[in-house]
């Protein structure tokens, strides 16, 4: 399953501080969208509003609409927990649960929610998720070993498998390769190409080459100065953003003049 995301007039605050101002963006299903921009421009903050993860930080809140196939994530009575099971997230640093085996890590979303699942169903889910994350062949013989024993790149793919096992509609990735070596990064990028057949993928990256390699569309965020809110400057096909941007700031950034 894959759903479209439509964001209308979204403002994000940390207490009194306006961190991201007036974002409007439409993200197509079964596509990869990259958010790029200098650090502190609010791209990660904005990404976290797409599954209401920013609410974990005390004092953070958002105003505006985020529609997932037309339903507002911030509508009345919507539980952020339900949102997060529909919109999964992969983090900057791989964070498998250290007390769980590889298998249990994949099943974490199911088990932590105390859902009943039969042995055969769970075996099937583990296999399909790990295969989906291109990790099955590397770990199938040691599913009961702790997940923290894997290499960094394997851990990150385990985290992606864990996210896929919950069967979300959208997968958000917050700089998923920034803590990884180049080889692991290529593995993850290959995986992202496959992921978009099933999911809507949104990825934050500070690496412009990566955005060009993986993304169908790219959004450029910028900040005018410290203390000012971050804004969405330009959103278009990746090729357009990198070769023929409309905005001067985008051109300066993608050509490496700042950031």
């Amino acid at each position: 399953m894959s759903k479209r995301i439509d964001v209308e007039h979204l403002n994000v605050y940390y207490g009194d501080f306006l961190a991201v101002e007036d974002v409007n963006i439409n993200i197509e299903p079964r596509s990869v969208t990259a958010f790029i921009g200098p650090s502190g421009c609010g791209k990660s903050t904005f990404l976290r509003t797409l599954n209401r993860m920013h609410e974990v930080i005390p004092g953070a809140y958002a105003q505006g609409k985020v529609m997932l196939d037309g339903e507002d994530l911030y509508g009345r009575g919507v539980d952020p927990v339900t949102v997060r099971s529909m919109v999964g997230m992969v983090f900057q640093r791989p964070n498998p649960f250290p007390t769980m085996s590889i298998r249990d890590n994949v099943l974490a979303g199911v088990k932590l929610n105390n859902k009943k699942i039969s042995k055969s169903d769970s075996d099937a889910l583990v296999e399909s998720s790990l295969k989906g994350a291109n990790l099955w062949n590397e770990v199938k013989d040691r599913l009961d070993k702790p997940g923290s024993g894997l290499s960094g790149g394997q851990q990150q793919r385990l985290c992606i498998a864990r996210t896929m096992a919950v069967k979300p509609d959208v997968v958000l990735m917050d700089e998923p390769c920034s803590a990884l070596d180049p080889i692991s990064t290529i593995a993850i990028e290959d995986l992202i190409h496959e992921l978009k057949e099933q999911f809507t993928v949104v990825i934050v990256t500070h690496n412009m080459q990566q955005a060009q390699r993986v993304a169908d569309k790219t959004a450029f965020f910028n900040i005018e100065g410290t203390g000012k809110p971050g804004k969405l400057v330009e959103y278009d096909d990746t090729a357009t953003i990198f070769q023929n941007p409309r905005e001067k700031a985008t051109e300066d950034y993608v050509s490496g003049r700042f950031g």
Binding site: M53, V81, R84, M89, N95, P98, T163
Partner: protein, 372 residues
């Protein structure tokens, strides 16, 4: 300079600007030996004994060694040396009582230790019995079984009360309060609670139950309440620290899977920190298991086994020790009572040390799991 290098290349005992003016290596050991000899002589003058000898030798060394260094290397180095030796002396001074206490407990407790001492009570041990035992010099009669059982029971109840309260409070402080005013007040109160004197905790529990059940009520459970007051802050502090070191990334990973906060805490945060929490709780138990004063005013003392914490007086190891020392069974022949006191002290120390050891083992055995 050049002459210096020449010198050092020619003579084996080289002298250069970096090492000149330093005290010879033998200086301090020689002063030490001198201090020991002079100390022995001085203490012999006053009537020789080892303690006096040690004191004299130490004092002489602490005065003479810095002076010797000063003469050779100057005042700055001299005072530096003085502090160094004083620091080492302070450490030795601090360890002496520890060694003495442990030695005394072993030397006087071990002879009392026997199957009999661990399996019998003080029921039927009258002054006459003790007097006879003292006269014939035989093994002190009676035992501390009732005290061992009482200590286990009272500590068990105290743990049962304080662990859930302490654990949940720590969870509130770390996971829910976000440093709000309520969290700050509770942190402050926990700190205040740490400072409540143990006897006051005992008075509180006694006053509380005195109002409900009449004054001078004594029950195991009252003592457990008193110990709970003393134990909660330790449990809160230990748990709080352990919860704080669980990386936030794990909580976020769990939230991002659509897991609720309370399940995240129960299934991710606590399992990750469980070894630290368990070891903290064990240390808290070790701390209260030796508390005497609160039990004296809440549980009292009893010669026989009483397993019911909700009815009547009860013996515990600390009050057993206190009772045997302060109110010997045979006032004219206190030796068997004193022996029993040291026997009980040995059991108590073994309990405490075992708990400390277990705490360390738990912390070590599960440590790799928390670190990545």
């Amino acid at each position: 300079m050049s002459t210096n290098t020449l010198q050092s290349s020619t003579s084996p005992a080289r002298k250069n600007t970096l090492t000149s003016g330093q005290r010879p290596k033998w200086l301090v050991p020689v002063v030490m030996v001198g201090a020991v000899i002079v100390g022995a002589a001085l203490s012999a003058l006053l009537g020789f004994n080892i303690a006096l000898w040690a004191i004299f030798a130490a004092v002489i060394f602490l005065i003479a060694a810095p002076i010797a260094v000063t003469v050779i290397e100057g005042g700055r180095k001299g005072s530096d040396a003085a502090l160094t030796y004083v620091v080492y002396a302070a450490f030795i001074l601090a360890v002496i009582p520890l060694i003495s206490v442990i030695w005394t407990v072993l030397a006087r407790g071990l002879p009392t230790m026997s199957v009999e001492f661990l399996t019998e009570t003080m029921g039927g041990i009258t002054g006459m019995v003790d007097q006879r035992a003292a006269d014939s010099g035989e093994h002190p009669p009676g035992g501390a079984l009732q005290a061992v059982l009482g200590t286990v029971i009272v500590t068990f109840w105290a743990t049962l009360f304080s662990v859930p309260i302490g654990l949940l409070t720590a969870i509130y402080l770390v996971e829910y309060s976000n440093d709000n005013w309520l969290g700050k007040i509770i942190t402050f109160l926990v700190d205040v609670m740490t400072g409540v004197p143990s006897i006051v905790a005992g008075l509180f529990a006694s006053a509380l139950f005195g109002l409900m059940l009449g004054p001078n009520t004594r029950m195991g459970i009252i003592g457990a309440i008193a110990l709970t007051v003393l134990m909660i802050p330790t449990v809160v502090k230990a748990t709080e620290e352990m919860l704080k070191i669980v990386p936030n990334e794990l909580r976020e990973a769990s939230y991002a899977l659509g897991v609720r906060k309370w399940r995240t805490i129960l299934k991710v945060v606590i399992p990750t920190s469980i070894s630290g929490i368990a070891s903290g709780v064990t240390l808290a138990i070790a701390r209260v298991i030796g508390e005497t004063a609160p039990l004296l005013v809440t549980v009292g003392y009893f010669e026989r086994v009483n397993l019911n914490a909700f009815n009547d007086w009860m013996a515990t190891l600390p009050t057993f020790i206190y009772q045997q020392l302060m109110r010997p069974v045979a006032p004219t022949a206190p030796d068997p009572s004193t022996d029993r006191a040291w026997g009980a002290a040995l059991i108590l120390i073994v309990f405490v040390m075992l708990l400390n050891l277990i705490a360390r083992l738990i912390a070590r055995a599960f440590a790799p799991k928390t670190g990545r």
